[in-house]
Amino acid sequence: MDAIRTEGLTKHYSVGFWRSRPYIALDNLNLEVARGEVFGFLGPNGAGKTTTLKLLMQLIFPTAGRAWILDRPAGDVGMRRRIGYLPENPTFYDNVSAEELLSYFAALFGYRGVERSRRVAALLDEVGLGAERRMQLRKYSKGMIQRVGIAQALINEPEVVFLDEPMSGLDPLGRREVRDLILRLRDRGATVFFSSHILADAEAICSRVGIVAAGRLVAAGTLAEMVPFRIRGWDLIVAGLSADAVAGVATRGATATAIADGRYHVVWPATATADEALAFVRSAGAELVSVNPIRDTLEDFFVAQVQQTGRRSFD
């Protein structure tokens, strides 16, 4: 059973007041996400990520195509008992507290009495808002609202969680916490579908990703399928490199860039082995600070795909 499935999902808008013309926000999206997956839906701003999520939540209606969540049509109210959704840059009600908001949402799912209070308290603790639970939301920072948004998406212990830009507005610590939270959700068997334009997040936690650009899905698969992880060179940080040695680096097809405090960033081509690079450093009497392989990254793949799509659209 798929957690999420779309067939030819398409959304057109009319833009322009006087002479309206169609704008294709999403074009023929065919997607399948299996249960238990952490699926990263990646793309630049305006690519169609939020449109897809809104279509899945039936906040907008498709021009063509269909979508299913947990084998039920996307608009099914009964199915919504089993899913959670964090909108992009969420806002809630100014005059209620996080505790009241979550209690309201929990009640909509049928939670009552002690069970509801327990669930709300546990979630607020989990997202790090336990101490501010009774503060009105108008006094919350952007990051705190984002945490409330994440908590409300999990209020019903959902089987499928949709997160639209979950790291948005969070500091590095908050982003780390959200990544850990997504992995905990995966560990308890939930499916997580999240959109992001921050590729490092996707690379760290996704089992599969889809790349969307200009309203079209341009690639989908596991990270291993998309990124061959071949070594493209060696990245060295070296201290105490003499002027002669810097010149010697260039003759071997490598580059050396001064950083600070006598340190150099040396990029060695993949045509040489790591041993050859290290042997050069030793022979130059320099000190090796670090060495890392340069691999293909998701970012490289992403940029190539998005640029190709851009060119195709332009052509």
Partner: protein, 269 residues
């Protein structure tokens, strides 16, 4: 039904804490208290003026609450996207809309009750202060229970204004536009009787027909105004209040039905 109740309760909780609401109610109470001073300036008319001004203050402040908080409930909710998280919950769109309406009408009823209580306190104070001769000259007793009938009609009028505000908000993305249209319709609705008799004052039969058509289509807010009859202890026709209430409820039901249909198909871009 449970979802409607939960949404209504949440709306009530959110809106009764709105600072704008407190300002409006405080202003209304202040206006009623001030009417005592105005009454002092007019020989023998104190009580009548206080009654008139108090009811007018309730009506006007209630209108502000209905328009500004009412429109904020849907238009601002869409504008600020807080509706997204709610509609992803097991709540149907019509349940959200009706819950919002019930919650706001509940807020209005509570505020109207607070204003009416303050009104009666001012009137009771007047009854205590006025010399017996002035009381005797007054057409109705100071704390006349019939005043509650006028308050109830204001409540019905505001319930209708709220339904109109909700109706505009279901398809307009601009809160300001919705507020403007609601107030415009409220003002137009005050001239119901004039529209009905429009053909008697214009030469063009077409203009007369349009006037009459508008009379039937626009909400007749003038019908809810029984202040003069109540304050001056004039009789109100048998069944008038019941008929007006039925008119309001029918109009509200129609507006809510159309709002539900529009809201069910709306794209939240």
């Amino acid at each position: 039904m449970r979802a409607i109740g939960l949404v209504a309760l949440h709306v009530f909780r959110d809106s009764v804490r709105d600072k704008v609401l407190y300002s409006i109610v405080a202003f209304a109470v202040l206006l009623m208290a001030a009417s005592y001073l105005i009454g002092q300036l007019t020989a023998g008319q104190d009580l009548k003026i206080i009654k008139d001004l108090g009811l007018a203050a309730m009506s006007l402040m209630g209108l502000f609450i209905a328009v500004f908080i009412g429109i904020g409930l849907i238009a601002r909710e869409i504008d600020r996207r807080s509706v997204y998280a709610v509609l992803a919950k097991p709540v149907r769109r019509h349940e959200l809309l009706l819950g919002k309406y019930v919650g706001l009408v509940g807020t209005l009823v509570v505020n109207l009750a607070v204003m009416a209580a303050a009104y009666y306190v001012v009137l009771a104070y007047m009854a205590w202060m006025l010399p017996p001769a002035a009381l005797k000259a007054s057409p109705a007793p100071p704390t006349d229970p019939r005043l509650l009938l006028a308050v109830a009609m204001i409540g019905l009028e505001l319930a209708l204004v709220t339904a109109i505000a909700l109706f505009w908000s279901t398809f307009s993305s601009s809160a300001l536009l919705s507020a403007g249209l609601t107030v415009a319709l409220y003002i137009a609705g005050q001239f119901g009787a004039d529209l009905k008799n429009f053909e008697q004052v214009v030469q063009s039969p077409a203009a007369g027909t349009i006037g009459r058509a508008l009379y039937y289509v626009l909400p007749n807010f003038a019908a809810f105004d029984i202040k003069t009859q109540v304050v001056n202890a004039l009789p109100i026709a048998d069944g008038y209040v019941a008929l007006t209430a039925a008119y309001a409820l029918t109009y509200i039901a129609l507006l809510l039905t159309v709002s539900v249909i529009i809201f069910a198909r709306r794209d939240f871009k």
